[in-house]
Subunit: 237 residues, 2 copies
DNA sequence: CACTGATTTAAGGTTGGCGTAAGGTTTTCT
DNA sequence: AGAAAACCTTACGCCAACCTTAAATCAGTG
């Protein structure tokens, strides 16, 4: 699925405890290929052998500093580098970014923030932006992103399944119009499908659970009894 | 009918394995007419003979590159083209899209994503959104939208039911003319209906409650005693 | 091959659109 | 004027269409 999670990550830091903590955070997040180094020498060795896809680099190291290590790395690779720096060392960050680091994060950090920044880098580098086929649109408070297949609301984010996506895409194509149940079935299953008509209802229900405040009293995905459904979208300029 | 699945697809790639994999994915998805080419020469030949509806094109080919092939194709056809490109070749994508490619996908790709994008292109090109059959029209203060099945007035919005829609659509088709009760019944119930003639009146009443200021003294949906009804619509330029 | 999540099936509950009916009003005809 | 015909209005009950939930099945993955 998420190929980002299969990227090779290298953690370079002299504190055992911190390395372990970072590794634990990352494993929990789903990353599987994590390497550690405590010194510059070790780090260079690992870079040459396993060729990590991203390096997390502490500024302070026993046998040199992170910046010179970065320079060394940069001679042979343009892999992204995320700096770890102690609080208040503002110059460090400027210097690091100037040398070609991709981001920095201040210790102590929140695991969630750390992961988010790291993922952002990986995505930026390894999943270049792609042309959008479907726009992002609002349903009241909620943001529906058909391209990425998610519904966001507040801090939360619900993924949409394949069928939900197919149905919502069809409904969005015909937004503010009545879409017959037949048309919806066709969009999701093709013309040669003979399942129960109930199946569609169940999927509609699931979609409503993600896009409606109260799925039983929908405001956006409405039933048109005897005909089908309609998705009411307010278009703004 | 899902016409999309009967479109002719051409896969151009020099790696046998990848071609086979793509074909397998597409067949599983329900596509039946899939052609393969390993070289530019082959591809051009197939384009001329079978005239595919969409081409999946690798950027790197043994006897030329995908871009020049695209140019050649574009001289005689505007069929949609989906590029395959290796990771990180950002310029490729820009160049490809600039030359008239419809989308690109980075190898290695997820089967699901690949199919979704391909379907998106086919839908966009071969199933253009149908034009509105019914315009939105005004009845005094009220706005009637037969496509979405609603009547708006001020901030409020009343939904129309299936029967109401059928009748209003018929009345609108024959707007400013008399429509016989028979014709209306036929539009709403088909030829073989033997209910009370009162039923039609009840539905007319319900429509009036949604489109008239005073349903008992209609201004727009008028009774023509002995014949039927007529919908008076002022057409504006 | 067991596990996970997505999808379909199944079964029972709910409801809103629709048709019916009954009484009222307006128009037309004699 | 009185009667008949055409149409209006209101209310009520039914049942197909729809909803809801849970359990079974399927499909992909390590």
């Amino acid at each position: 699925m998420d190929e980002i999670k299969h990227k090779k990550l290298l953690i370079v830091d002299d504190e055992d405890e911190l390395r372990q903590m970072v590794e634990k955070i990352l494993r929990k997040e789903g990353f599987t290929r994590i390497f550690q180094a405590a010194t510059c020498a070790e780090a260079i060795h690992i870079c040459q052998t396993v060729k990590p896809d991203l390096t997390i680099l502490d500024v302070m190291l026993p046998d040199g500093d992170g910046f010179s290590l970065l320079s060394t790395i940069r001679q042979t690779s343009d892999m992204p580098v995320l700096f770890l720096t102690a609080r208040g060392e503002d110059e460090d960050r400027v210097l690091g970014l100037g040398l070609g680091a991709d981001d920095y994060i201040v210790k102590p950090f929140l695991p969630r923030e750390f992961v988010l920044r790291l993922m952002a880098i990986l995505r930026r580098v390894y999943l270049p932006p792609q042309p959008k086929k479907y726009p992002v649109f609002q349903l009241g408070e909620r943001t529906v992103d058909l391209e990425s297949g998610t519904v966001r609301h507040g801090g939360n984010e619900w993924p949409l399944t394949a069928k939900e996506l197919a149905l919502l895409a069809k409904l969005y194509d015909q937004r503010n119009r009545i879409v017959t149940s037949d048309a919806l079935c066709q969009a999701a299953w093709g013309d040669d499908y003979y399942g129960l008509e109930n199946t569609l209802m169940v999927h509609i229900r699931r979609i409503r659970e993600k896009i409606e405040d109260n799925p039983s009293h929908p405001h956006y995905l409405l039933t048109v009894r005897g005909l089908g459904y309609k998705l009411m979208v307010k278009e703004e300029e």
